[in-house]
Amino acid sequence: MQTTFRIIDEDGIHARPATALVNTATKFKDTEAYAEAKGKKVTLKSILGVLSLGLEAGDTLSLITEGTEEAEAMKALQEIMIKEGLGELHE
């Protein structure tokens, strides 16, 4: 399952929202979660991975979930993106 966002926060994805995304992704043990941007794909269960994407305002980011709870995981991640004011859906 894949959803694409455009980053609107002027800081891009910074430490606090990145922490929230990683914490949420980690809750879903049997589901893999990835972030893909700028031709790089990293696991969402790694804060260093997420920060290494160097996401800034205006960048496009795809979240990908794969596994038994992929729909729930995606919904939870989407909520974080919206709640943290990070992105708008871009489809």
Binding site: G12, H14, A18, T43, S52, E56
Partner: protein, 570 residues
């Protein structure tokens, strides 16, 4: 017992065990490991211990400072659990049979470099988090016992080479009873912080660090500038009674709290306080401040990773104005550069930062930064008696340009239907000799002057106050300085304006009689100096001090001036 002397930087006496604040040496050597499983276990053990520490710090920060400050430790915890970090380190230990600290350092350095090379200034700053986390794990791997100042949880006296702004920001006043450092002077950052936190401090001892061990009993006498190491019981008793006497005197001064500041012959002057954050306002009120003479806004910009938004600034300014309940508040616009850097502004290193791109020079160039601050100030102006002052003005055109930007923003706000006060006084800091000399011309256009003596003295004497070899030239009582001060005050009075002073000199007991005599209208100082100053001024005759100042202006040296002032038995 041994006793060493330094510079009394913040009044009071403290007795407690020593806490050595030293940044340890992280030299790492690559060694071949035979028992690989044991090395991996060592890594896991260090990670677990680091996590446990962070958990405690996080919870304490949450309880004491709130969720926002605790967030940073949450992300540190995640880094310690990060498979992208842990797997490569473990692989390196296993594949290359190397020591855990070496493997960790190599991988962590890759991440640090990755962050440092990022385009966004914010992400570049994350390199500091990575370093911090790595050091925490290395402490366990290398057997280094390091406690950061934020983690101090018992009453101590902090002993350090020097305290950086980030060290002092982390000091918990509840536990840190006093501090003493090898370097620094009365006006160094750590000394100023100590006075605003009201912690006794002795700085510039040269070698306290080498003479004290963690756990030694230490007395910091911030009244006389002495540090006693492992004192006898009798000495402890003596100092505790001194401490009590000091507390008693403080209590006496407190009686003057709600009184105006009036000289023996009835001249009224205003005693205001210098503050750095809205939290300092309580101290101003407790110490009977008649206003805020200098609100240093740069702290809003420091200790964070990006510029503060208009909203953050507005809230801070509004809080100060509201809590001062209609008393005047002089806000100094951003004074960054020199010894105060903001990493996220990415300013190039300069050969002479004190003579370089700083304060108003930077603000007039980076109008995006300046306009945001002006808007926040203008919006806050309806909540009290706001006065705005521009720092480091060297020429009239700088003042005019800053004023015009302010007026532009004011007009815009009014157009947007936002209320702005029409009674905002607009002034300048006088800290550059050119401005002091030309004060008569400036006085026609500004509403007030505030003399920043720390910079005015060092620019007049061409001597860096932090350089111990030339610090003898930092001479507030030098007649050259007094004459400049007089020029500024006279120029203001000729135009019906007022002059304040917000440098260290305004709270100096030797300088006060002279400044009163020169006709200074407002004295702005550390909150804790206000009541002693009020008590001192109440015993002085302004008319007599006018004669004293006239004599001082005709002397040749600072020493002669000091002797003259002492002759009045002040």
């Amino acid at each position: 017992m041994s006793k060493i002397s330094g510079i009394a930087a913040s009044a009071g006496i403290a007795v407690a065990r020593a806490f050595i604040l030293e940044h340890p040496d992280y030299t790492i050597t690559k060694t071949a490991i035979s028992d690989i499983d044991a090395e991996v276990a060592k890594l896991n053990d260090a990670l677990a211990k680091s996590k446990a520490e962070l958990q405690v710090i996080k919870e304490r920060t949450l309880a004491e400072l709130g969720e926002k400050k605790a967030e940073i430790f949450e992300s540190h915890l995640l880094i310690l659990e990060d498979p992208e970090l842990i797997s490569p380190v473990t692989d390196k230990i296993r594949e290359e049979s190397v020591n855990a600290d070496y493997a960790l350092n190599v991988i962590a350095t890759q991440f640090i470099e990755m962050f440092e090379n990022m385009k966004s200034a914010y992400l570049q700053e994350r390199a500091a988090d990575m370093r911090d986390v790595t050091k925490r794990v290395l402490n366990h791997l290398l057997g280094i016992h390091y406690v950061s100042p934020a983690e101090i949880s018992e009453e101590v006296i902090v002993i350090a080479q020097d305290l950086t702004p980030s060290d002092t920001a982390q000091l918990n006043r509840k536990f840190v009873k006093g501090f003493t450092t090898n370097i620094g002077g009365r006006t160094s950052h750590s000394a100023i912080m100590a006075r605003s936190l009201e912690i006794p401090a002795v700085v510039g001892t040269k070698d306290v660090l080498s003479k004290v061990k963690t756990g030694d009993l230490v007395i910091v006498d911030g009244l006389n500038g002495d540090v006693l190491i492992n004192p006898s019981e009798a000495e402890v008793a003596e100092y505790i009674s001194k401490q009590k006497a000091y507390d008693l005197q403080i209590a006496e001064w407190k009686k003057l709290r709600d009184e105006p500041t009036v000289s023996a012959d009835g001249k009224h002057v205003e005693l205001a306080a210098n503050i750095g954050t809205p939290n300092d306002v309580n101290g101003v009120i407790e110490n009977g401040g008649e206003g805020v003479g200098l609100y240093r806004t740069e702290f809003l910009y420091m200790g964070r990773d990006k510029l503060p938004s208009e909203e953050i600034q507005y809230n801070a300014y509004r809080t100060v104005l509201e809590n001062m309940k209609g008393k005047p508040v002089v806000v100094r616009t951003l004074d960054i550069g020199g010894d105060k850097e903001l990493p996220y502004l990415e300013l190039p290193k300069e050969m002479n930062p004190f003579l370089g791109f700083r304060a108003i020079r930077l603000c007039l160039d980076r109008q995006d930064i300046f306009r945001t601050q002006l808007r926040a100030l203008l919006r806050a102006s309806v909540h009290g008696d706001l006065r705005i002052m521009f720092p480091m003005i060297a020429v009239l055109s700088e003042f005019r340009a800053a004023r015009d930007l302010l007026l532009e923003e004011k007009a815009k706000l009014k157009e947007e239907g936002i209320e702005v006060s029409d009674n905002i006084q607009l002034g300048i800091m006088v800290e550059i000799p050119s401005t002091a000399v030309l004060a008569d011309q400036f006085a026609k256009e500004v509403d007030f002057f505030s003399i920043g003596t720390n910079d005015l003295i060092q620019y007049t004497m061409a001597a860096d106050r932090m350089n111990e070899r030339v610090s003898y030239l930092y001479q507030p009582y030098n007649p050259a300085i007094l004459r400049l001060v007089k020029m500024v005050i006279d120029a203001a009075h000729a135009e019906g304006k007022w002059t304040g002073m917000c440098g260290e000199m305004a709270g100096d007991t030797t300088a006060i009689p002279l400044l009163l005599g020169l006709g200074l209208d407002e004295f702005s100082m550390s909150a804790t100096s206000i009541l002693p100053a009020r008590s001192q001024i109440s015993k002085l005759s302004a008319a007599d001090m006018k004669d004293l100042a006239a004599k001082a202006l005709q002397l040749g040296t600072a020493e002669e001036v000091a002797v003259l002032v002492q002759s009045i038995g002040n």
